[in-house]
């Protein structure tokens, strides 16, 4: 008899970053590193679990911008070139460390990993990494879900319901184009929820979403089982609340697993440590030092003194942490099981990019944990969709407006560093709705211009730009991106109304900001005429 369920949700997202105008771009490297260090290692873990007939279940969200980058031939080409440079560096590292009993096995490990990544990317999936996710979904253990088209932070775009509708609908449509099926669930960007979103999500056929802990805990009426059972929102979708214990065990700066002294140190990288004569050609052409992914030290302790990485010790630790995590879940479901009339569900969402990149041993930890749970009779892994199929009656509640950002609400995306963007985003949203409503029919260049205007607006709406402005690193990039997309949008909008579209400029935009090739601008049409359920809500805001 299962005493409780554990639902892992891995949320994978990067903003749409693509710079054909530059030979190399620092920002594209975020994407390349994430493939090498996170997505491929996670795929490998899941494939090996499947091979060994381990009964595991995970929910995996892939943001539409990330999928679009994975599907973009230009970025595929660039990543292939990046990989072969890394393969070359891996060989040089093997030569450099040859004979050294400590560093040579590590250099060998990195070469094997890069070669494996190159095999998976180039040979096995012909550069289309989404094929691996399709395969995993067909295997039945991985449930793929979508997110808002460009990861817009919906509570701050909600002044126009059409903007929310377009973000969500475009995300679902792109998912359908790639995976063929309709996603059951959606990852609300940054877990950003406000009341009213569920009507749009339900209208678009979604069954569930995930909120921060206090999204469900502070729902009204008070949810009987806290976050350990989903609630049914007025729109008819289920809302799952994040379990605070599982996030603390991984994230807490004091007790969190990734900080263990045996784990690999992120900040010691040969990109910083070795002579520029040797490493320079693998860094950014400006000579700017940066990460290469070749890291040979373990965290060791709180000081700057670092000892060499020992892979066996690190894996032993990952095994121990997996055991500890499972033990804690057993205790947790036992505790809540005494209160509840059903097995408690522990929802544990994480950013995929934590695993492998920041926490190098994270993918192995997942592997060990899935194998342990497979043999455990008290806990079972489950996807969010499969949990709903168990058909426990759900309590009807309205979730609380919330996010999983710092302080739990909207402040990360709305503060003195980024608040200036909203007057522009809202105005552009208003103008896009006017365009879509005034041009119900269009052809050729006009249609292309309208679709491109919709693309530029969606790109401007990414939650990443205000987030980066708040954190302060790379904020000039974020400002520049949002400004560019808004300027492009406004210029297109003017040209459309004035009936003088600059076709060659439009084609350049289409080639540069080229995501969602099938995007249809009609998604921005005035909802008042199309969604009766929203009418009363609209009355409130106008």
């Amino acid at each position: 008899m299962v005493k409780g369920y554990l639902a892992f949700v891995f949320h994978s997202h990067l903003p749409y970053v693509r710079h054909p105008e530059h030979k190399q771009s620092l920002e594209e490297k975020w994407f390349f590193e994430a493939i090498t260090e996170c997505y491929v290692p996670l795929i490998k873990v899941f494939q090996e679990l499947e091979r060994d007939h381990v009964d595991y279940s995970v929910t995996f969200s892939l943001s539409p911008t990330l999928l679009a980058m994975m599907e973009d031939p230009f970025l595929q080409e660039r990543y292939a070139a990046y990989l072969s440079r890394m393969q070359e560096l891996a060989c040089k590292e093997e030569e450099r460390t040859a004979g050294d009993p400590v560093f040579s096995p590590l250099a060998h490990m990195y070469r094997e990993r890069i070669d494996y990544t190159a095999y998976i990317f180039n040979e096995k999936y012909g550069r289309r990494i989404v094929e691996a996710f399709k395969e995993l979904q067909r295997g039945g253990n991985v449930e793929l879900i979508t997110s808002a088209a460009t990861h817009g932070f919906l509570p701050l775009l909600g002044i126009q319901k059409e903007a929310i509708y377009a973000q969500i609908a475009a995300g679902i449509e792109y998912y359908q184009k790639i995976f063929g099926n309709t996603p059951r669930g959606i990852w609300l960007p940054e877990c950003g929820y406000e009341s009213g979103l569920e009507d749009i999500m339900s209208e678009l056929g979604l069954h569930y979403f995930v909120t921060a802990t206090h999204g469900v805990l502070y729902a009204s009426p008070r949810p009987k089982y806290g976050v350990y059972s989903p609630i049914l929102t007025p729109g008819g979708l289920a809302a799952f609340g994040r379990d605070p214990e599982t996030s603390q065990q991984v994230w807490s700066s004091k007790e969190g697993y990734p900080g263990d002294y045996n784990y690999r140190e992120f900040y010691r990288d040969i990109g910083y440590d070795l002579d520029l004569d040797y490493i320079g050609e693998y860094l950014h052409p400006t000579g700017l030092r940066g990460n290469t992914g070749f890291k040979y030290y373990r965290i060791t302790g709180p000081s700057n003194h670092k000892e060499p990485y020992n892979r066996e010790w690190a894996l032993e630790k990952a095994r121990e942490h997996a055991g500890n995590f499972m033990f804690n879940r057993e205790k947790q479901v036992e505790y809540y099981g005494e209160i509840m009339d059903r097995p408690p569900l522990v929802v544990a969402p994480y950013d995929s990019e934590l695993f492998g990149h920041w926490w190098f041993e994270g993918p192995q930890w997942i592997d060990y944990l899935c194998r342990l749970i497979n043999k455990n009779q008290n806990i079972k892994l489950i996807t969010l969709g499969k949990y709903l199929e168990l058909q426990y009656p759900l309590q009807l509640c309205t979730p609380n407006a919330s996010s999983w950002g710092d302080k739990g609400y909207n402040e990360v995306w709305l503060n003195g560093k980024n608040d200036w963007i909203y007057r522009h985003l809202h105005k552009a949203g208003e103008k896009m709705i006017a365009l879509a409503t005034n041009f119900p029919k269009s052809e050729d260049i006009l249609r292309d211009a309208l679709n491109q205007a919709a693309r530029e607006l969606l790109l401007a709406q990414s939650s990443d730009w205000p987030f980066i402005m708040t954190t302060g690193t790379m904020d000039s990039y974020a400002k520049s991106r949002i400004t560019s997309h808004l300027i492009r949008f406004l210029k297109l909008e003017r040209q459309i109304w004035e009936n003088r579209i600059d076709v060659s400029w439009l084609r350049q935009l289409e080639a540069t900001d080229n995501l969602f090739p099938h995007l249809d601008y009609h998604l921005f049409q005035n909802l008042e005429q199309t969604v009766a359920v929203e009418k009363d809500k609209l009355a409130e805001i106008t």
């Binding site: 710079h19 105008e21 530059h22 771009s25 509570p155 002044i159 406000e194 009341s195 802990t213 206090h214 805990l217 502070y218 729902a219 009204s220 009426p221 008070r222 949810p223 009987k224 089982y225 806290g226 976050v227 605070p244 214990e245 505790y335 809540y336 005494e338 209160i339 309590q395 009807l396 509640c397 609380n400 407006a401 919330s402 739990g408 609400y409 909207n410 402040e411 709305l414 503060n415 608040d419 200036w420 909203y422 007057r423 522009h424 809202h426 105005k427 990039y477 520049s480 400004t483 560019s484 808004l486 300027i487 210029k491 400029w505 350049q508 935009l509 540069t512 409130e540 805001i541 106008t542």
Partner: protein, 170 residues
């Protein structure tokens, strides 16, 4: 982005400072704070300058913030914030979670009273504690509810608020 790509596609253009349309928009930041931004178009400013026989900069502008109950039906109270005529946004300490708020931008009349210029949308501040509405069909016995919230609050980020507001104290 690198400057060259901006030049390549966007030329010398910059974002407009004004859109030429009146607007006042209210956004919730958290259970206690709101953010308002506005634009008052030149024709509107001129209209008010003419009405009051005063330059815009010497008008006494204010934001009047109205609080409604959670259903948005009953007006509970309001307060005023004096603002600088050159400001175009303001963080407002609204103070009460789970209430609806709306704001009006206006100015004090020389003879006293308030002259309305713009109205905002209505927003709701989020809760920062457990709801006190309980569905009788979904009620846990008190001792079990205490067990549930005690453990959640141990690792919840907002546990302090939870302990303060949410957990039955007996």
């Amino acid at each position: 982005m690198h400057p060259s790509s901006r030049e390549y596609l966007d030329g010398e253009e910059n974002l407009p400072l004004y859109y030429g349309k009146d607007c006042l928009v209210l956004l919730p930041r958290d259970p206690y704070w709101l953010f308002a931004y506005w634009e008052i178009s030149i024709p509107t400013r001129q209209r008010f300058e003419a009405e009051f026989h005063k330059p815009w900069d010497s008008l006494q502008l204010l934001l009047r913030v109205y609080r409604y109950d959670a259903q948005g039906t009953g007006k509970e109270s309001h307060f005023d914030i004096q603002i600088d005529p050159s400001a175009d946004n303001w963080y407002i300490k609204a103070g009460v979670p789970n209430k609806k708020y709306q704001t009006e931008l206006g100015c004090y009349l020389p003879e006293g009273g308030f002259r309305h210029i713009l109205s905002s949308n209505l927003v709701t501040t989020p809760r920062d504690s457990l709801s006190d509405i309980i569905d009788e069909n979904w009620r846990l016995p008190d001792w079990q509810a205490r067990r549930l919230y005690r453990r959640i609050s141990r690792s919840n980020l907002s546990s302090l608020e939870m302990i303060k507001w949410g957990i039955p104290q007996q």
